[in-house]
Amino acid sequence: MTLKKRFAFCFLLLCQFISAQNDSITKLKEVIVSDVNLKKYSSSQSVQVLNDSVINKNQPSLTSLLNYNTVIYFKENGLGMTSAPSFRGTTGAQTAVIWNGININSQFLGQADFNTIGTRDFNSITVKAGGGSVLYGSSAIGGSIHLNNDLQFKNEFSNQVFFSLGSYNTLSANYRTIVASDKYSLQISISRNSSDNDFKYPGNTDQRNTNGEYYNTSMNTTFGYKIDSKNTLKAYSQFYDSERHFSLTSPNGSKTKYGDFNTRNLLEWESLFNRFTSKLKVAHIGESYKYYPSITSELFTYGKVETSLIKYDLAFDVNDKIKLNSIVDYNRNKGYGSSIDNVKREIGSASLLLSHSPSDKWDYNASIRQEVTDNYGNPFLFSFGTRYQFTDFYRVKINASKNFRMPTYNDLFWEGSGNPDLKPETSYQAEIGNEFFTKDFSVSITAYYNSIKNLLRWVPSQGGGDMWSPENTDKVRAYGAEVILEWKPKIANNNFTINGTYAYTVSESEQLIGGELIYKQLIYVPYHKLTGAVSYNWKKFSSYFQYLYNGDAYTTPFNNPATKVKDYNVGNVGVDYDFGKKKSYKLGFQVLNVWNENYQPVTSRQMPGRNYSIYINLNF
């Protein structure tokens, strides 16, 4: 099997690099995480944390980071173009993206475009598989992605500069500074990414990627202030601005471009009273897009939504073992655009959460949420999970939950086509996870089943001419298994880190074919996905290799075998050397798509062949 051969080949190749020791010494610091509930109520689910050392080795888009390091499959319409996840066989709008505890999926589309989220503005990115609607609301069906900015209250002044330059004039820059004392803490991160993205197609052709250029700029600020020993104020802010031209699929096609401008602001006041912790959050989220169907014309279509939300979270620790949270939130948004009249939506919800550890080996959590809105019914949600440690190297996790996805602005309000009578998509799911772990090794194997009904689809309506409109049509049953592995062997001065993930995914909906209802795999959900990463450190050298295998996937609802997207194997290697003594000054080199794989993640959406970049990463 070619997959294995390539894996072995690259492993060997990698070992020839002179590599270096991992010098990071983890100090115990008081870290204030932005989303405490994530850890508190996810113990019975599969959670993977990607810290900044992983983030820095990857390309700066969320698509690329998650593609190479998690079980999530991406339907990426060419490098840097629109990108939608499929997490556990679900659709793009069934994965929630959570920025410092706040859901930021687009109100228009219900999904986040994973190529409009940069990774380097965050201290860590957490991937939580499975349902999370009780805590995170709409779309947390397949799983949720958490973008976290953490604060430290201790004297610190530090700077990080990352700069890389690669093929096709691809530039990536990030500057981050932290200024902190025991009273306040400030973190500012500024990123810029751009590329001409005009690669020549691999293989025997002169064709180039045309009209694929893009840029994006973002700034993320996190500020914390300790008013006194019981009160803390925190503020989070992000601006994101991007323009992408959409790559052509036909050489003489019409050139289009798309602009995004997003703002996110969150203010939080935390107070401690004995066993109570009170958190008041106020947030404002703005999203807007402009679409230019012809770059030669100044005319565009657009949409804009502004969301204000207020959230109150009261935590009560009954004792060390029993913890409760009650959360109420109210969310109001206003939207308008070229095809959406001024519309408003108001959503309220109330949740109760319980976490209990009857013993050192056993804990469980249970939670409920009632959603109230005038737009789409009032779903009642729940989640129950438990974890039991059988031996010092084995534990079992079980979780079951009901989750939902609300209809989007476009579904409800699109001029002439929107359908105000839609119901939310609802999902009932259960999973069981087995975890084996030792000091430097862990593997988790999770099996799940997810039944989703009232799936929202745009379908042509009978008798309406060329009219399409959304309906609650399909049912989906998704089931599968995931394996996540981490191993950190150390042989003398040689430090290895080996990570791997594998997902087997069946996700089917019933299709009426020749008068018969037959279950067919959803489009762009491959049965198999595999990722691997090896990093090797020796003294001041470090090197790493990443591997991605996506199995073939159907592109039509009836699963036409002739139009599948082919499976592909892609590998990246990198090596860097740290010139610093006390500080870290790294100079590195990367080769992406090492064996020049010719692949299209989506029909006719070509990805680049082998390409290179050099980078510096300075910490001072």
Binding site: P293, T555, F558
Partner: protein, 356 residues
């Protein structure tokens, strides 16, 4: 974006059937190529994906899909072919989103050339005076840049002087040296007909025929214009109608109105009978009748998305786009509605083009 494209597609979907194939010049002789006789089916493929294709159905009902790529290795039909129209020994495939016209020999399907200049969202083509006339929508949001391009058939080049017309020129048909352009509306909804003189390449007249004129068929000195009516998403919604235009003086002779807010799909004329569709139902009426029938001839029950329609030689041809993503189907019925053949074709089959 995805949602946008879907809507975009809905606007773009063309109603298509062949409008000006006639002039049988067959004296039985040796086949002039593998594709002499029979008919072609244009499959649009998915919008923004170059997977459109031309299928060929021989007289003995053998189907061959994607003939352009088969005969011309290394070439693809492209993104959203809209029509294939014959002139002399040549066939012209207008490929909308690829902004090109593939010129091939109509009997061998060998590529002659590819035309890419001065095309911007090309739709349909007709011929007069040694020239080809191609309707173009121009940029999607610009309502004033629509035009008819003029192709010199001797050199296969498109003149840079474009004939400016009102928004959304769609079907085009030739009669007596004049070109009749139906303004279906492009990205909006049109309601008029433009007449162009091929001797001067100037617009002779433009007049209102009815909302969303999608089909043009000429028969016996009369131009039949099928108007869909304004759809529900573009208020005020209106019912469709069939408008008869007298070709000798370019005036409306009479109108056949559809009841309530009915939106017809397609129309063809065969042996002095108008055939048309509403949803999956097929109706017929005499070209001389003054009202539309209330009952259909039959319902094409197997068809889920009727996307192309033609009537020829005692057969009714129906193209089914299915779910718009999987390969579509073609059904052949007798004139009374008996299903005689069912064939698998490409993605989004939109029309039938008889090669004789």
């Amino acid at each position: 974006m995805k949602r946008f494209n879907k809507l975009f597609l809905t606007v773009l979907v063309s109603s298509a059937f062949f409008v000006s194939c006639s002039n049988d010049d067959d004296n039985t002789q040796e086949a002039r190529g593998d594709y002499d006789g029979g008919l072609f089916i244009v499959n649009e493929g998915n919008f923004q994906t170059p997977n459109g294709a031309i299928s060929y159905l021989s007289d003995d009902l053998q189907i061959e899909n994607d003939v352009f790529s088969l005969v011309n290795p290394g070439k693809v039909t492209g993104d959203t072919p809209i029509c294939i129209v014959f002139n002399g020994d040549l066939a012209y495939i207008v490929v909308n989103a690829s902004n090109k016209i593939e010129v091939v020999n109509r009997y061998t399907f060998k590529s002659i050339t590819t035309i890419t200049t001065n095309l911007n969202n090309p739709r349909f083509i007709a011929f007069a005076n040694g020239k080809g006339y191609i309707t173009n929508w121009g940029d999607p949001l610009v309502t004033t840049d629509d035009y008819v391009a003029v192709l010199d058939l001797a050199t296969n080049t498109i003149s840079s002087s474009l004939i400016s017309v009102v928004e959304g020129p769609e079907k085009i048909i030739e009669n007596d040296g004049k070109l009749y352009v139906a303004h279906k509306g492009g990205y909006g909804q049109g309601n008029s007909l433009t007449v162009i003189n091929s001797a001067s390449n100037a617009v002779v007249t433009n007049f209102v025929v009815g909302d969303v004129p999608s089909g043009l068929v000429k028969d016996n000195g009369t131009l039949y214009v099928l108007c869909d009516g304004r759809p529900s998403y573009a208020a005020p919604e209106t019912a469709g109608k069939i408008v008869k235009v007298n070709l000798s003086n370019n005036t409306i002779a009479s109108t056949l109105a559809f009841p309530d807010l009915t939106h017809p799909g397609f129309m063809d004329i065969n042996n002095n009978k108008i055939y048309y569709t509403v949803d999956s139902n097929v109706y017929t009426t005499s070209t001389t009748s003054t009202a539309l029938p209330t009952a259909e001839i039959f319902k094409a029950a197997k068809v889920s998305t009727l996307y192309g329609f033609a009537v020829k030689n005692d057969n009714i041809y129906i193209a089914d786009a299915g779910n718009y993503q999987d390969p579509g189907k073609v059904y052949i019925y007798s004139l009374t509605g008996t299903l005689t053949s069912e064939l698998g074709v490409g993605i989004l089959p939109n029309g039938f083009y008889f090669n004789n």
